[in-house]
Symmetry: C2
Subunit: 345 residues, 2 copies
């Protein structure tokens, strides 16, 4: 059974487009924030922060999606790494996970569902957190994900609100999972050919485990690059931090197959909706090719962390991460708030 | 748009049957439990317990399902009350919620999705917790739910593992939401006719807010009655507590429409799978009618709490709860572990 052939839309490409999500939430009367809620969903942060006491805050996030690869175990592993990523993106350490499972029981063997779960369990174990529960339903198509709670010191959270003018921007994983997974779904690309991207998506974003405490103090802002693509998440960071961001396309890490897949026209609806979402917010240099623009819209699944770091510490941080995250690159800088939120050169 | 007509299976009836869930999880290599995990999913507890320090433990749960009523706002409210219930079932107070949303964007107006969210937001506000995030995807059918984190004192958690021989069993809401919601889905019952059940499902299980601290010390075991039906959850409590339970059918609270709906044959697959799940575990008295048996299998959505309480405190607790939870009844007792896990008389 080819898992990607059992669903209409794969992975983060099935995410509700940001512009529509805004319309749904517009006018909604939210419950008031109780004492302890330091960060809610209002600024498109990756996770919420709930302060328990002066030493401990919870970092909470939730993510799930349809299969983006055909191997059940790889799918579970990617879904878990993707969900855990948001805790890392806030500087936290994951502690507990709950599974979100929807499966077409009539057509799918229990053993396949078990493989999905096993892939996730292996990644959860690597992260040093535990699987403490979940919920499963019979549904038309397979979906899997996690609700994750991590712990962070309340004074040491990373958010997308603190990027500073003069910072350099670091991206820790290559771009292109959207177009590559579309190639897989269209059966034009084998999982072997896509292995670089699959391994990257299974990779935990546990950069804190590889950085010195001094390195960590130089990270001012962070987010993970997922469904809204690089420019979508850059836009959210720029707005939340009241700055503009400059991106150098030639410095962007991309998978070996990314441009090849874009050239073959492997696009999702999310490529379009991400473009729509940032319409009028990005200034692209005239010299750029169409695909150099599109790669910045490419919806990422379990994408890398986008870090806004003190310029003097950037090279150190890249060096510290390069072994475990070979794609790690300095991709641009933070500039004063200007006419556009993002300048891509 | 009649929400129940947009899905194949409604509410908890779409839950993966327990027997199949066991098959899926069988042989799975779970991540080890890290320090702090006091209760995981292994004993069918309602929620996990993760101890932060000697004063504070997290109570965590996650639940979501398809529409069981046609009103979007009622659906959101029921889904929220249902998810929050598991925190109350462990003796906790809910603090943070994250939304789980899957919606058929092509056929569903944003305003309908907003109504679902609003229904949930209203119930979350009533519970004194906050909505801090979530995830939304484009899907074939509408699903909504919450991941909820509550706080409890680590020494004061309720679980299904501590029912004691001699305890009386209290149920706080009437039974029958499964058959009544099937009537709604089959368009044989209007939401007006089902209003008693709908109001009950929207009702928070916040019994702690109505009990004295002395009453609370007399509650030995608790669980909420949901998709596996009364006998399914009784079975889990009996096994976890190493006791047997005796249920008096004539004392069971049921909605005015419950038996009428059962007589019309409004059954779901979950009625059958719940029967299968407890096969050989229940001794039914010969005098019982078929529908008196079936009501004990009826899959509940946002059902009541099943409490195992010190016999001498039972009347007090019922009196304290009766105003806010008019269905509250003493339905049976805890007896020594015997040949069957449950005796229904």
């Amino acid at each position: 059974m080819k898992l990607t052939q059992t669903v209409k839309k794969s992975g983060c490409a099935a995410k509700v487009p940001a512009i529509l999500l805004r319309e749904i939430l517009n006018g909604l009367s939210f419950p008031p924030n109780i004492a302890g809620v330091e960060i809610d969903g209002a600024h498109f942060d990756d996770a919420a922060i709930f302060k328990i006491n002066d030493e401990v805050a919870l970092v909470q996030t939730l993510d799930f999606f349809t299969p983006i690869v055909d191997s059940a175990k790889n799918f579970g592993a990617i879904a878990a790494a993707n969900a855990l990523s948001d805790v890392y993106a806030m500087g936290g350490k994951p502690k507990t996970c709950m599974a979100i499972l929807a499966a077409p029981l009539a057509i799918m063997e229990p053993s396949i569902i078990r493989e999905v779960m096993q892939g996730a369990c292996d990644v959860i174990a690597l992260s040093g957190s535990s699987l403490v529960g979940g919920h499963s339903i019979d549904d038309d198509s397979l979906k899997f994900g996690l609700s994750v709670t991590g712990i962070v010191h309340p004074e040491k959270t990373w958010t997308n609100q603190k990027a500073k003018v003069g910072d350099l921007l670091i991206l820790t994983k290559p771009l292109g999972t959207g177009t590559i997974c579309t190639g897989i779904k269209q059966q034009e690309l084998s999982e072997e050919e896509a292995s670089e991207a699959i391994d990257s998506m299974k990779r935990l974003n546990n950069i804190v485990d590889f950085l010195s405490s001094e390195d960590i103090t130089h990270i001012h802002g962070a987010t993970d690059v997922t469904g809204f693509g690089l420019t979508g998440h850059c836009y959210q960071m720029a707005r939340a931090s009241a700055v503009s961001l400059k991106i150098h396309v030639e410095n962007l890490p991309v998978f070996a197959k990314s441009y090849e897949c874009l050239e073959k026209g492997f696009l999702t609806k999310a490529h379009r909706s991400n473009k729509e979402y940032t319409k009028g917010k990005i200034n692209f240099a005239e010299s750029l090719t169409e695909n150099q623009k599109i790669i910045t819209y490419d919806p990422q699944t379990s994408g890398g962390l986008l870090l806004s770091v003190d310029a003097k510490a950037a090279e150190n941080i890249v060096t510290a991460l390069k072994t475990s995250f070979p794609g790690t690159s300095i991709i641009g800088s933070v500039i004063q708030k200007n006419e556009f939120d993002i300048y891509v050169e």
